[in-house]
C-alpha cells in the first residue's frame, strides 16, 4: 500500500520506511514554536520537570505576538517570561518587538520551515506550514515543554481526506474562500483528527500566500494538519528565503484516503462565514444588507503582502464608510515595509483606515479593536466564535481581504464588485 505525503513525512521522522494510519509513533521534531500565551505555561512545565537545557536552541522559535507590543502589565509579565527564557537558553529564533510578526506568517517568511519538515507549535494555527509541504500541527503547552526537553513528540498517524479543486477560480475568489467553502461543506469537525490534503488545478494556480490561508484554517475543520504538495512555486518561495535542506514528498498513486471530495470551482463565489462558527458559510450574493461596525484585515490567515495588495486595490481613491472602523494589520515587519514601499499604507490611511504594527490583537479579542455589545465585525481572521473579538453579544463574520475592504467602504457586507463598479 502506498503512502500519503503526510505518512511519508511522519515515517521519515520516526526512522521507519512505512507508517499506517492509527499507528502510534515517536517522531523527531524540526521546529518547536510557542507564543506569549502558550510559552509561559510551557516554560513553567519545562522547569518543573527538572530540565535545565533545551534539546536544541536552534530548533525552538519563540514569538510574542498575541499581546505584544505589551498590552498591559499582565501581558508584559508574560512576554518577559518568554524573553528571559530565550536569553537564558540562548534561543536563536526569539523575535523581539521590532522584528516580531504574527508567528505563522513570520516562520515561513524567515525560511525557518521548509518542505518535508515536522513542526509542532503551541498554537492551533501551526497547521499553516502544510502549504510548504511540511507536516505541522498545533499542540498545547505541556507537549511544547516536552518537545523542548527531548526534541520528540508522540503522534497517532492520521488518516487523510483528499480535496480536489477542479477548474478556474471566479473573480474575487481566493484561497480563503476555498477553505471557507470546504469547512462549510464538511463542518467544523468534518476532518477531526485527520490530515486534509489539498490538490487540483485551482490549488496549483494559487500563490504561496493564498495557499497559506488554506492550510491555516485546516484546524477549523478539526484537522490535525493540512498539506499541499510542493511545486515550483513552493521551491522558489523556499529557496529565496532559506538555506535549510528540504525534502519534497508526494503522495503515492495508490495511497489510501479515508474520503475524497471533488469541488468545481466555477460554482464557488466569495464566501462569508456567519456567526458563530466557521462552517456557517454562504456565498456573498446571498448576503442581505448586514450593517457592520468594524472591519479587521490581517491575522495569520490573511495578513500577508498579497492580502494587503487585494485590500489596497479596493480602497484606492475610496473612503471608509463613516459608521465603520477599519483596522489593518500587516502580519510582519517585512509585509509592513513592503506596503510602505508600494504606497499601500498611504492608500489605507487616505481611505480612513488605521494601520497597526504586527499583532494577533483583535483576532482573539486581545486588544486593538475590541467589540462592544451588539456590534458586528467583518474580519479576514479565522474564528467567529461567541465573544471571540470582544463582548459575548458581539458578532464576527469572516471573509477574504477584498470583500472585507469593500464592506468597509459600503458600511455593510458587500462584494468587491459593488465598489469597483461604483468607481468606474
Amino acid at each position: 500500500m502506498g503512502m500519503t505525503i503526510t505518512q511519508k513525512i511522519l515515517a521519515d521522522h520516526t526512522g521507519k520506511k512505512y507508517v499506517e494510519p492509527g499507528e502510534l509513533i515517536l517522531a523527531d521534531v524540526d521546529m518547536v514554536l510557542g507564543n506569549d500565551i502558550t510559552a509561559p505555561v510551557a516554560i513553567k512545565e519545562f522547569y518543573k520537570s527538572g530540565c535545565k537545557k533545551v534539546f536544541d536552541r536552534k530548533k525552538i522559535a519563540l514569538v510574542p505576538d498575541h499581546f505584544a507590543p505589551n498590552k498591559d502589565i499582565k501581558s508584559a509579565q508574560q512576554c518577559k517570561t518568554v524573553r528571559d527564557f530565550a536569553r537564558e537558553q540562548g534561543i536563536e529564533n526569539y523575535f523581539e518587538v521590532g522584528k516580531m510578526g504574527i508567528e505563522h506568517a513570520l516562520l515561513p517568511e524567515k525560511g525557518m520551515v521548509v518542505p518535508g519538515d515536522l513542526v509542532i507549535g503551541a498554537d492551533s494555527h501551526t497547521c499553516t506550514y502544510g502549504a510548504l509541504g511540511a507536516f505541522s500541527t498545533g499542540v498545547g503547552s505541556s507537549d511544547m515543554a516536552a518537545a523542548m526537553m527531548m526534541g520528540k513528540i508522540w503522534f497517532k498517524v492520521p488518516e487523510t481526506i483528499k480535496f480536489i479543486f477542479n477548474g478556474k477560480l471566479n473573480p474575487w475568489v481566493t484561497g480563503k474562500d476555498l477553505i471557507l467553502y470546504t469547512i462549510g461543506q464538511i463542518g467544523v469537525d468534518g476532518a477531526l483528527y485527520k490530515a486534509m490534503e489539498f490538490s487540483g488545478e485551482a490549488i496549483t494556480s494559487l500563490s504561496m500566500d493564498e495557499r497559506f490561508s488554506i492550510t491555516n484554517m485546516a484546524v477549523e475543520a478539526g484537522a490535525k494538519s493540512g498539506i499541499i504538495a510542493p511545486d515550483q512555486k513552493t521551491i522558489k518561495y523556499v529557496e529565496e528565503r532559506s538555506n535549510k535542506p528540504y525534502n519534497i514528498y508526494e503522495s503515492d498513486d495508490d495511497a489510501e484516503y479515508s474520503e475524497i471530495f471533488e469541488f468545481d470551482c466555477s460554482q464557488i463565489e466569495p464566501q462569508v462565514a456567519l456567526p458563530h462558527l466557521p462552517e456557517n458559510t454562504v456565498g456573498i450574493s446571498s448576503i442581505d444588507h448586514i450593517l457592520i461596525d468594524q472591519v479587521v484585515i490581517g491575522s495569520c490567515t490573511n495578513g500577508r503582502i498579497e492580502d494587503m495588495r487585494a485590500a489596497a486595490k479596493i480602497l484606492k481613491n475610496q473612503k471608509v464608510h463613516p459608521y465603520v472602523r477599519l483596522i489593518i494589520i500587516p502580519a510582519t515587519q517585512e509585509v509592513y515595509l513592503q506596503c510602505i514601499k508600494e504606497g499601500i499604507i498611504e492608500i489605507f490611511i487616505e481611505a480612513g483606515a488605521v494601520v497597526s504594527t504586527p499583532t494577533c490583537g483583535p483576532c482573539l479579542g486581545g486588544y486593538m479593536g475590541i467589540l462592544a455589545e451588539g456590534e458586528k465585525a467583518l474580519a479576514t481572521t479565522n474564528r467567529n466564535f461567541v465573544g471571540r473579538m470582544g463582548h459575548p453579544k458581539s458578532e464576527v463574520y469572516l471573509s477574504n481581504p477584498a470583500v472585507a475592504a469593500a464592506s468597509a467602504v459600503m458600511g455593510r457586507i458587500a462584494s468587491p464588485e459593488e465598489v469597483i463598479k461604483n468607481a468606474v
Binding site: L26, I37, S142, D143, W154, L192, G222, G365, G387, R388
Partner: protein, 164 residues
C-alpha cells in the same frame, strides 16, 4: 481513582474561547482562570458547579485554540472529568497532559443533574440516577499512563521519555 459528581450538560462545538476567553489567557494564576471559566457560554456556570462535577457535552468539545489554559481553567474550577461525544484533538491531548480525565461516549443517557460515577481508566461509566451503565471508548495506553501519573510532566519525570 473513583470520581463521583453531578452532570452539567451543554451542547456541541463548545470552543476554547467560551471555556476561557482570550482576554484572560495572559496569566499563570490558575484561580483567575477558574474564576472566568465558561462565563461567555453560561454566566451562572460557576454557581452551578460543585467540586467534583462532570462536564457533559456533545460533539467536538474544546475546538479552537490550543490554549492549555482551557482545560486548566476547568480543572481548577473543580470539574473532575469531561464527558463528550467527541473532542477536538488539541484539547484532548491537553486535558490528559494536565491530568484531567476525559470520557468519549454517547451522552443520550445522561441528563443535566444526574449523578455519575467513574473509575479512571475503566470502560464503563455509571449513571447512579438512572442506574444505567454507559460504555466508554478506551484511551490509548500512553494516555492512561499519563493520566495515572497526574499529567505529562510527572509522567516524563518517572519514565524519562515516552513509552508507546
Amino acid at each position: 481513582m473513583k470520581l463521583k459528581g453531578k452532570a452539567l450538560k451543554y451542547g456541541d462545538n463548545i470552543d476554547t474561547d467560551v471555556i476561557i476567553p482570550g482576554k484572560y489567557t495572559k496569566t499563570l494564576n490558575m484561580k483567575e482562570l477558574a474564576d472566568h471559566v465558561m462565563e461567555d457560554l453560561d454566566p451562572d456556570f460557576k454557581n452551578k458547579l460543585q467540586n467534583g462535577d462532570f462536564l457533559v457535552a456533545g460533539h467536538n468539545f474544546g475546538c479552537g485554540s490550543s490554549r492549555e489554559q482551557a482545560p486548566l481553567a476547568l480543572k481548577h474550577a473543580g470539574v473532575s472529568c469531561i464527558i463528550a461525544e467527541s473532542f477536538a484533538r488539541i484539547f484532548y491531548r491537553n486535558a490528559i497532559n494536565i491530568g484531567l480525565p476525559l470520557i468519549e461516549c454517547k451522552i443520550d443517557e445522561i441528563k443535566n443533574g444526574d449523578i455519575l460515577e467513574y473509575v479512571v481508566g475503566s470502560s464503563k461509566l455509571h449513571n447512579l440516577t438512572t442506574q444505567k451503565i454507559i460504555e466508554v471508548k478506551p484511551l490509548p495506553q500512553i494516555m492512561t499512563s499519563i493520566l495515572k501519573e497526574g499529567g505529562l510532566v510527572n509522567y516524563l519525570k518517572k519514565y524519562g521519555c515516552y513509552k508507546l
